[in-house]
Symmetry: C2
Subunit: 237 residues, 2 copies
């Protein structure tokens, strides 16, 4: 069916910016074409995976030649939506909010955080990393008036659902949620959860396993049965 494009796998999607970042380091005056083997070697990935990911992004190359560097970069940026910057409102003017405003590269990735919102009277009217901090009540009406479609939630878990509802009522279409709760939202809203507790679980479980194996190894070493097991849980990246 024309117009019905296969959605790209999440895993591929998350690898594309890694490729893009490498491509952007290449001097386009010297190098005109890049190949999948070249990209793969530099980002420590498999050649086939790179090619499949580009294919999934709807990007084609030329056999034997490869991909035109500048064209590939712009195709990736376009696919990711990084070529036209979207304004975003951030709810929560705490330290996490400050940290996110410190990611100056976000604007090169199509994201411009234009203002922060909080309910702390002491913060209203101040500036956080140069951005105005407004009262949370203004979020919805301002989002509507300024046609802001992206929201970032850095408030505590207890306030996140309320804030998310405000965002939706203001016409926000996509939410980057850093609060460690599951948001209940209309299905058409795009939500990306950045739950650090889930990440920590992954990390700490692996460490725990590692430490247990170490203990087991040293125990068996003491009982003169050395059989330390090699462990490799390093992430591809």
């Amino acid at each position: 069916m024309p117009g019905t494009t296969q959605p790209i796998p999440e895993a591929s999607l998350r690898r594309l910016p890694v490729y893009l970042r490498y491509l952007q380091t290449i001097d386009s005056n010297v190098v005109k074409y890049v190949s999948c083997p070249d990209i793969a070697a530099h980002v420590h990935a498999e050649v086939i995976q790179v090619r499949k990911d580009l294919e999934a992004a709807g990007i084609a190359g030329r056999p034997k030649v490869g991909y035109e560097l500048l064209k590939l970069i712009s195709q990736l940026e376009s696919f990711l939506g990084w070529d036209n910057t979207k304004d975003a409102f951030m709810a929560g003017a705490g330290s996490l909010g400050a940290a996110l405003l410190g990611y100056t590269e976000f604007v090169r990735c199509g994201l411009s955080i234009v203002a922060a919102f909080d309910n702390d009277p002491a913060k209203i009217g101040t500036r956080l990393r140069g951005k105005e901090v407004l009262h949370i009540d203004q979020l919805a009406p301002l989002a509507q008036r300024m046609h802001v479609h992206m929201g970032i939630i850095t408030v505590p878990g207890g306030a996140a659902q309320q804030v998310a509802d405000l965002m939706v009522s203001g016409g926000i279409l996509a939410i980057w949620n850093f609060a460690p709760i599951r948001l209940s939202l209309p299905p058409e809203i795009v939500v990306h959860n950045e739950n650090l507790y889930c990440s920590l679980a992954s990390l700490s479980q692996k460490v725990e396993t590692l430490l247990r194996q170490r203990r087991a190894a040293s125990d068996s070493a003491q009982s003169s049965t050395p059989n330390a097991e090699e462990v490799c849980t390093n992430e591809p990246a």
Copy 2:
């Protein structure tokens, strides 16, 4: 082979803390047993997925009865390594570092950030959220002396590899990396990358797709061919 346990899928691992969080909200004086259907209903997951995840964590229940609440909680905590707290050193005393120190719940998840390290003379000797900020040169020797096995990297990308090498030299076994670069480390080191650009890519691509469909829909509406497509890219949790 006895002792050779199947590693749990990453996806299952990331769901376990969600179940655990729900279980911890239950009054153990009232409820003694919980079932997969119950958990699934509360965390908006599938019953089979919950059961399979628990099975993957090596946790067994009793047919018809379910899982003993307090036992299940402690089994999950034990599996995740959240029952014995590990000390961690954090490299980078910036706003992201401050934000992470603000996650007071981390200690309940087995992670205690005991000190921060930086190379900015203005920061050395100060305190960040009550934690001492020491010179980065002290990280390796102190890690060794204090038997700290976990490291958190919140420094800029350019300094991350250097800092990671320091950590490894100090005997650190696991690294939670918030710098947007791929670290080259010995394979036995456990690394978890928290690359926000990858997350942003995922989010912005979906938003871009959504906006394009909207435009296409409104265009075709103008040309009297209304066929707006419903889109649902909401994440499970």
